[in-house]
């Protein structure tokens, strides 16, 4: 059994004051300075620790308040109110919701999984990943790791092609060659960002993080500069330009290379592998209605790893796009049907925003996934996309310290890892590899609604 995978976490403080859902609206005129709110009512010392962030004119009262309402309810002059913070609502967009963003901030800051008291407080279900639930097991023997530390659950997955049967020579000798396989301890690679503020520091943060976690970060061919070379064993070089421009020595240090689909990717794959047979080559496909067939065709031709990407909202291309989880299910089942599923690795990406999405996409058939925006959010990004429009970043991401950034990324990944363990543990599954495609151990909103509610109101 390999050594237990553990990600070191630490409290890595924010550089900016967080934007929170509600704020305290307190009128100071008329305040009796009874300090009841300060001394007695606030068990979190929010008032005592109050300060003003000059850069953003933000009051720490807002971000530190835990919403117990005692000050509101006990102020003798009724001077304290709470109000929704419109800036919170303005965070992100319909998909990258304020709840998701602030959840990611918490995890990146603390490395802890979000735990709370009282029951679930969110919507009953929702679109995309919110329309499915994972299973649990009442009494069969599950394995648990994480907080209880009892048994080992592996989250390791392999990237590469597998031979389905060992070919034996006439003398019984093994003649089939095992293709190269790269193991990552967490089913996550870091993808290129759809957008980000300029500056190398963000990329450096990713690389530091990938190296520390034992995984990979995708870097465009054009972005391979001297600073990146140091990290080559943890870089997936994305060859989106002229392959001839790549220096040969890169192939000896790199372990994975990604190429876009289109033209003849298999030929390119073979060309790279002829330079370094230990290379794993990954083909990047934009998800769409034709992906199942295309995936099968590529695998049949010898593709090792398919990176199936949706857009930042998890949507494939096309006029009536499917959500990544639906198309992934379809690709997976199609490959199962064709009997080739286990030959290649499927990596899904696009719209992965929470730890649960990781588990759910694996259940829907991915071996691993690629993430992008959450890594930026870990560094306090507000998903405002101002940088895209050439406006200064409100949290000055361009000036981020790569070390700080990588610690935040490590924290986030540690929290995701722990949450994956929670899901696996509850299901009684010992390995992330075995979670893949376990659709029977999930519950889908559409099925349940049809089964349970559509019959309501019918007599008999």
């Amino acid at each position: 059994m390999p050594p237990k995978y553990h990600i070191e976490t630490s409290q890595v403080p924010n550089r900016f004051q967080k934007i929170t859902r509600s704020g305290i609206i307190a009128w100071e005129e008329g305040c009796l300075k009874c300090t009841r709110c300060v001394k007695k009512d606030c068990v979190y010392q929010v008032y005592e620790k109050r300060n003003l962030d000059d850069r953003q004119m933000l009051d720490s009262l807002d971000s530190a308040c835990m919403d117990c309402f005692r000050c509101v309810q006990n102020c003798p002059n009724r001077l304290i109110h709470k109000g929704l913070n419109p800036s919170y609502k303005a965070l992100g967009d319909h998909y990258w919701t304020p709840e998701i963003i602030s959840g990611l901030w918490f995890q990146a800051e603390s490395g802890r999984i979000p735990v709370s008291g009282a029951g679930y407080g969110g919507p009953f279900s929702g679109p995309g990943f919110d329309a499915m639930w994972t299973d649990m097991s009442e009494i069969v023997r599950p394995t648990r790791d994480g907080i209880h530390g009892r048994e080992y659950i592996s989250t390791t997955v392999d990237i590469g092609r597998k031979v389905m049967a060992i070919g034996l020579g006439p003398g019984g000798e093994i003649i089939s060659q095992a293709p190269p396989l790269v193991e990552i301890p967490l089913p996550v690679i870091f993808d290129m960002l759809p957008w980000s503020p300029p500056g190398d520091n963000i990329q450096l943060s990713f690389l530091y993080g990938a190296r520390a976690l034992g995984t990979f970060a995708v870097v465009r061919q054009s972005g391979i500069n001297p600073a990146v070379r140091e990290f080559l064993p943890h870089v997936i070089i994305y060859v989106d330009g002229n392959p001839g421009d790549l220096k040969e020595e890169l192939f000896s240090s790199a372990r994975i290379i990604e190429i876009p689909d289109g033209g003849d990717p298999i030929a390119l794959q073979e060309r790279f592998k002829s330079i370094n047979p230990a290379l794993v080559v990954m083909i990047r496909l934009r998800l769409g209605p034709k992906t199942p067939e295309r995936a099968f065709a590529l695998i049949a031709q010898g593709a090792e790893v398919l990176h199936l990407v949706a857009d930042e909202y998890g949507l494939e291309e096309g006029s009536d796009p499917l959500f990544i989880k639906e198309r992934m299910k379809e690709v997976h089942l199609h490959l199962v049907d064709k009997g080739v599923r286990d030959q290649a690795t499927l990596i899904g990406g696009g719209g992965i925003a929470m730890a649960e999405h990781m588990a759910k996409l694996i259940i829907c058939g991915a071996d691993a996934l690629s993430i992008d925006i959450p890594l930026l959010v870990a560094m306090e990004c507000r998903v405002c996309r101002r940088c895209k429009e050439g406006i200064a970043c409100p949290v000055e991401l361009d000036g981020v310290d790569p070390l700080w950034g990588s610690l935040r990324i490590a924290n986030l990944m540690a929290a995701w890892h722990s949450q994956l363990l929670e899901i696996l543990g509850a299901m009684g599954i010992r390995e992330a590899r075995r979670l893949r495609g376990e659709m029977g151990r999930a519950m889908f909103f559409e099925d349940l609604e049809r089964e349970i509610f559509a019959t309501m109101g019918k007599r008999g």
């Binding site: 609206i25 003003l52 004119m57 009051d59 109000g83 419109p86 405002c384 200064a392």
Partner: protein, 140 residues
Amino acid sequence: MDQKTAGLNITIFFCQQLDIDQDKNRRTLEKELGSQIRFFPLPCSGRIDPLHLLRALESGADMVYLIACPEGACRYREGNLRARKRVGYAQKLIEEIGLEGARIELITGTAATPATIDTIARELLMRDATVGISPVRSKG
């Protein structure tokens, strides 16, 4: 843009209730003017503190505006009334150190013509400048 207040650093505090899409609406202006314009959204103009106004001047603003909801339209009923008094207090204080009180100004929207934050800001930029570059900035 062809603003009359060219060269001046403008800081705008504003009540977000005025413009639900403020975050999007102010972007073009921010892009055009860069660091010359800074927006600070507030959940209510009553959240303004004289300290905010002073700190804005101290950190290099030449003009500080607070845009509040029209009277009677404050969601907290009295937030904008309180804002008015606080602006007055801050003006008096800066006048005592020889800075023009006019560098801080309260702008009250009118209920009849709800405007986006960028149109209000543009109007302010098009006004004849009553003050020049702040001595805090130029001599500091």
